[in-house]
């Protein structure tokens, strides 16, 4: 089974042969797990949602029996539009760029490594081992090591000096430079743009797939989105009374490099497994038709790797959204340019004594991860039922 949630189609159960007692036994066996997960996952999520809608009072959060008042969505509103929660909004921006770069590069590097290993004449096992070993490390170990490697006045930057070149000057983790800045008030504008890009891609895929009906529907969505964007309605929304610039922090490059170093072996393994399942006859056929080596990859191998790529995107994506330990160990919890919501959640809860705000950040993270995971789970398990 490769890279999917489910392996084989469901087997036919042996209902007739199972006694009533065994059925009950089976239910009894699974019950503890169901109850535990019911409490620890769904019960706790519900409780977090409840806490996130309360206020624990200014300094009283540490009190044994704190006075808790219900405040509705105030904590969420504060996070997205409150003057003081600028950090959280930059966290979201950082998380977005980190996810994009981390997933993108992991896929790219993983694919490159997989193709490379496929082409190797000798040492395949050795190279596979070398590219994959970072996967077995803890993010804390990776963070500690890369923190040292990315010290601005040493490590990678000092590498050129070994061959007599001047040392690099890149401030890997500590740069405060920001590019691609945008005003937070325009966030809906950019979100809309994002949705447009996704729907355009979907439309393109249904065009190549020849699905006329879907194509028409998707093109219609694109047209509506373009209309909204062009009208400029979204840029007129005032979330904040002042312009607040957020953007891509260059310091994130350091984190991206370490994370890709750790996880690209994983995508390599996925792609390798995928490449191996493609029958050689298919490639032979293409070659007989006069396709070059590159064309074989382009038209035979890569399209067949599609489903694997989807799995990889989902898995890497949800790791990226949750990233905490790597940044904690690499840049420290108090380093704003590389901070993400998971870090701020930790600080708000356990240092700022704001348990309710911390919970709200937890819920926001959950929603973001769910947007990625739930469609994936639904389609996987639907496919299984069929």
């Amino acid at each position: 089974m490769t890279a999917g949630l489910t392996g084989n189609p469901p087997e036919r159960t042996v209902k007739d042969m199972q006694s009533r007692r065994d059925q009950v036994m089976a239910a009894v066996i699974i019950l503890p797990s169901v109850i535990l997960l019911g409490i620890f996952v769904y019960g706790f999520i519900a409780q977090t949602v409840r806490v996130s809608m309360t206020d624990w009072g200014q300094e009283a959060a540490m009190v044994i029996n704190p006075k808790i008042t219900y405040v509705g969505m105030a904590n969420y509103r504060e996070l997205f539009t409150g003057f003081l929660n600028m950090r959280f909004r930059q966290d979201l921006t950082n998380m977005f760029f980190f996810t994009l770069l981390f997933v993108g590069f992991s896929l790219l590097v993983g694919l490159l490594l997989a193709v490379l290993i496929e082409q190797l004449v000798w040492g395949e096992t050795f190279f596979r081992t070398v590219f994959l070993y970072p996967m077995s490390l803890s993010f804390v170990v990776t963070g500690t090591i890369w923190r040292w490697l990315l010290q601005p006045r040493g490590g990678i930057n000092a590498l050129p000096t070994l061959v007599g070149l001047p040392a690099g000057k890149f401030l890997w983790l500590t740069s405060r430079e920001q590019t691609l800045t945008f005003d937070w008030s325009h966030i809906f504008h950019y979100l809309c743009l994002g949705v447009l890009i996704v729907s355009a891609a979907a439309a393109f895929s249904s065009w190549t797939g020849g699905d006329r009906r879907k194509l028409r529907a998707r093109l219609a969505i694109c047209a509506v989105l373009i209309g909204i964007l062009a009208s400029g309605i979204l840029t007129r929304i005032k979330l904040l009374p002042f312009a607040e610039a957020h953007g891509f922090n260059k310091a994130l490059w350091g984190v991206v490099i370490a994370a890709v170093w750790q996880m690209s072996g994983y995508t390599m393994a996925l792609y390798l497994a995928g490449l191996r399942t493609i029958p050689d006859e298919l490639r032979e056929a293409a070659r007989v038709d006069g396709a070059s080596k590159f064309q074989v990859y382009r038209y035979v191998d890569f399209p067949l790797l599609g489903p694997i790529t989807v799995s990889a995107v989902v898995i890497l994506g949800h790791i990226a959204l949750k990233i905490f330990d790597l940044i904690f160990a690499m840049a420290g919890p108090d380093h704003y340019p590389t901070s993400v919501p998971a870090i701020t959640m930790f600080l708000k809860t356990f240092r700022g004594n704001e348990l309710a705000v911390g919970s709200a950040i937890g819920v926001i993270l959950l929603i973001l991860v769910s947007l990625l995971i739930i469609p994936y789970l639904v389609t996987s398990f639907r496919a299984e039922e069929r």
């Binding site: 540490m62 003081l84 600028m86 950090r87 601005p152 380093h335 930790f346 356990f350 240092r351």
Partner: protein, 419 residues
Amino acid sequence: MKTSRWLKLIGLCGVVVLLFATVTSAAPQGELEIFSWWAGDEGPALEALIAMYEEKYPDVTVINATVTGGAGVNAKAVLKTRMLGGDPPDTFQVHAGQELIGTWVVANRMEDLTWLYEEEGWMEVFPADLLDLLSTDEGIWSVPVNIHRSNVLYYIPDNLARWGVEVPKTWDEFLEIAPKLEAQGIIPLSLGENWTAIHLWECVALSVLGPEKYGQLWDGALSWKSPEVIEVWELFGKILEYTNPDAPSLSWQQATDMVVNGQAAFNIMGDWASGYMTTTLKLEPVTGYGWAPAPGTEGVFIMLSDSFGLPVGCRNRENAIAWLRMLGSLEGQDTFNPLKGSIAPRIDSDLSKYNAYLQSAANDWRTNKIVGSLAHGVVANERFMNDFATVMDIFLASKNAEAAANAAEAVAIQSGIGR
């Protein structure tokens, strides 16, 4: 680890369910768990105290629970998870002032120690100003072990002579000589991670505002949006231009190292840097390294004090009380402080045990005007501290003095500063 222990572990794994039930979280008796953020170079002073304690109470096993990380940032998070988890350490390090009062005392998490103070006669031996920082109307809440000064400027005298600069007495003087240093490829002022920027900020704030107005920031008499405070941010921004760009990746020791190595001319740090340079780097005070009050703060002593308290519901209360008793004793204080590089809070401490730097600091402590440190939790509660770190970052990113002042004002209101 011995093989037998591995075998045992593997064996245990077989009866894993049993083990799950039998491993208990209750600590054995006769322990004392001390929670602090002193490790590495600051470790030996604490270890000396622990050795002293173990000698006095040989039956007690001391657990030295240290969580390192700049000025206790990480430690505070860990401590909080434990207190919230209903599992307080027997005693923990806490800065005297709002960090103690604003977080733990208001939450009724500490035991009143007035009886201990009376029993030991400490009311007379600790300065009244310091006792104020440890007390509320309801009681006295911790035992101070040391006094540190935060507004100290460090340099290497020989280097300054070589570069042809004098120690600046004001920030104007500093801004005058800084370009000269830069022209020689020297970083005028070395800086470390985020909290050291706040540390620098409080020294700049004191120099611009003076001790009175600096104090008014904390009781609400001076607005964070007032022109004077904006001026602080502006000057702070100018000073930052002369600091090293890789600051966030450096610990305070690495920032100090830059001065010692001759990469930077000055560093502003609390006087634990004296301890670091004397004990770890083996430099002689006065000849090996020099110090002065941070520019524009002559005659004022920004103080902070580490103290230990008694959390409600700790496991080994008696052992913890014995520890506190020892901390407050003359012997305890004069053992700890010369090693830590701090001065003893007790007014009867024996100055002959301290080095040249500490004697001068003790002298200043007795004669200077005293104000509390912001970066080290004396004057503001932790919620303010946590959000002020964000304000600092807003400023470091934007260099916009007005925006920073506005943000600080909002933080002050939200966290109830000056109420």
